[in-house]
Symmetry: C3
Subunit: 321 residues, 3 copies
């Protein structure tokens, strides 16, 4: 049984896009749609989660992701507590499970978890008390499912339906939790064709089994695609043997208007941010008319509001936890 | 005159459990009782302190204690400001009193103070403006009175009344602000017998004058006790001459089911957390049926809500401060 | 065209006191006046900015200034997000403009910006989206306009009108953003005479062009003044060649009752805090009957509430940003 779903098939935690039924993925997008109205207004607030407590439990610093979760919870009127674990209880030698039990005992309703180790969010979800929901804000190389869902939302906003789409994910697939979550979400939503474009050193072994077509050059990989999803390159990879220089990487895989010439004329360009300009893409593309990168950020708040409201907004959730 | 009370004997600051009249200690427990309903609900919030400002003034980091105070204030609808003084004004050479005057001038209603030096919370209370209340969140080796009151609340929850109880406090009494506050609270509430169990090196001189019976071994100290309150062991003590090895400490003073055999069969086990498993107690005890350790955490929020509401919720408090 | 004003002459950003029309400066003071009632009450909160998001974007740490802005926003019922940039996105190499675009995309309404480089707040204001307001919380040596306005508010509170006043600003004018903003505000409000008192090494070249009379000794500079505004001395200046010892500085420029003897008998004493006691002034002056230093702090919250309400409280502001 999937730990993410309750016995009526409703979302109970949000840990990964892998294996989620298509209607549920679509429900997330539809719910996010309903919140885009809220955040465009002057009073960007609904009382849906008033009196509920959301704990941002970040074992890995990430101002950007933490900020969007905090905004999402705040705009649902929840109370938010930020706990940066690197500088707190772990220094006292407290185990993850003891920390979890303690925070639960303070009667919180949800944990937003970010951790450098794959599987931590699921570990916490498996051990959490019945009334508590866990949202994965990124675990190791495993998954970053809210990022993937905001990407899906942005694609649907621009393209309507997923079936006819050719989507290319470009860059360091090997180390990317974002890519894994995107691939599962795209396939779950019935995207026509999911491609990955990367050098062999940056691809996981047996990547085809994820349901993607593999390309090693941009010329063939970008041909006729409707969506180009660039990945962020961790600069520390440069110093290892995995990558040539930044200049060489940009020459081969950096997105430019020239390389985009083979894509569909209305292809949209995405990036999870922050962009390394001149590495993953140049500024002409990043700031060009086909870039939807800032819309992704805006949609990130709506999608996280949607997930929190689905997890916490049910009658009876959070009670007697 | 006790700085904690106003001239009508009502609580004005909460600095120590020492010398508090029994009716006032009981009023704190009764008020906390009334808040346990609030925090068990889905909407864990009452508007009692709306528009009031509580400042967490932490000169010593403590995520756990800070978090429970922040939750307590938030659930009373107060606004909370966290100031980590280690990294702020003190680096500019500002004196404690100047900092206090400045925060007061911003019209706050309460300070929650944590400091490595004994007496700091009282110092601040003595110098605070009339409308402002101070809550001691731990000062040096002196006192940690909210911890003691949540312990008392938990004991009363399980045992009803204090008179017939034998209570043992086990561990490093010498360095423990928690132990001092527990002893004063237990005696103030009329507990039948308060014991301390510790090696001679970890007991203050003349500890008997606090109103406790002293034991140096668990076998005799735990006999027939109704409540066992374990203290957290600071691991840095291990490196000094005060303690043998962790293994030796656990052998002599670590709580196990075997050592508990001499206690009352319905004895409850308490710990202020975080537990050093395998040092103060083993997991069989920590997670066993007699452990009320997580209930202590839950009660910590209710007790802090109670104290804040008693200090700040009076008509007229906080005005024209 | 001044970036601070919209095309109807209303305040759109608040970056500097330089060049602001007198009616607008007075409107800020009048609006602050209306908020002093709010913060003196027990429920220190008005719903004016409910559902609006204010981001404290601090590239330079400052607990005190950050705290007053956070309190001001909270008391207007806005949601506040603190971003300490030193430890966040900049470590990922994100450019200031990319960071700005991202935070804007999260649909915030205002940035409160503190930065060690002069001009950063204006840079952000020039690049911000139409619906977003920027408040300068101190940029390099350039300006600290909210500090200056709370000073003006405090002066008006005590002296009524600016025309007849002689005001002396004492200390390190050269490195002081506070002094620059004070001089522009005083001249903009029509103060009778603005003086600066400082050693030659701590005065900007051509300081007279700012509209001040220059004095190098306290005896002549303080004669008949109605207001004495002391500046904070950065202790690191001491180690350079710019200043003699602290003792020597205090002997020459430190404020004492003796030096004040030549001032108007009802002169008020101001300081932006935190005070270096025994350097800029002794405690007899800092805590004496003519000191209004703590009133400045209280007024700081009201003035920042005023500015936020003027910038964000307009019908239509913050929409479709």
């Amino acid at each position: 049984m999937n730990v993410q779903l309750d016995n009526q098939g409703r979302l109970r935690h949000f840990l990964t896009t892998e294996g989620l039924p298509r209607p549920l993925l679509e429900q997330i997008l539809d719910t996010a749609e309903s919140f885009t109205g809220v955040i465009g207004k002057s009073v960007k607030k609904v009382p849906l989660l008033r009196g509920r407590t959301v704990i941002n439990l970040f074992f890995e610093p990430s101002t950007r992701t933490r900020t969007t979760f905090e905004l999402a919870a705040t705009r649902l009127s929840a109370d938010v507590l930020n706990i940066n674990v690197a500088v707190s209880s772990q220094s006292k030698g407290e185990s993850l499970l003891d920390m979890l039990r303690n925070l639960e005992a303070m009667q919180c309703d949800a944990f937003v978890v970010r951790h450098a180790d794959s599987g931590t969010a699921e570990f916490i979800a498996r051990h959490a008390q019945p009334g508590i929901s866990v949202l994965n804000a990124g675990d190791g190389r495993h998954a970053h499912p809210t990022q993937a869902m905001l990407d899906m939302f942005t694609i649907r906003q621009h393209k309507g339906s997923f079936e006819p789409l050719r989507v290319a994910i470009v860059g360091d697939i090997l180390h990317s939790r974002v890519a894994r979550s995107q691939i599962h979400a795209l396939n779950g939503l019935g995207a026509g064709e999911v491609r990955v474009i990367a050098p062999r050193t940056l691809l996981p072994r047996d990547v085809e089994t994820l349901g993607v077509r593999v390309f090693h050059d941009m010329q063939s990989g970008l041909r006729d695609v409707d969506v180009v999803m660039m990945l962020r390159l961790q600069r520390e990879r440069m110093t290892g043997a995995l990558l040539p220089s930044e200049g060489e990487y940009f020459r081969l895989y950096g997105l430019t208007e020239e390389k985009l010439a083979v894509a569909h004329p209305e292809a949209i360009i995405m990036h999870p941010g922050p962009i390394n300009r001149g590495v993953e893409m140049n500024s002409a593309v990043a700031d060009g008319p086909r870039s939807v990168i800032l819309q992704q950020v805006t949609n990130g708040v709506a999608v996280r509001m949607a997930l929190m409201s689905m997890l916490l907004g049910r009658p009876g959730s959070g009670e007697d936890a």
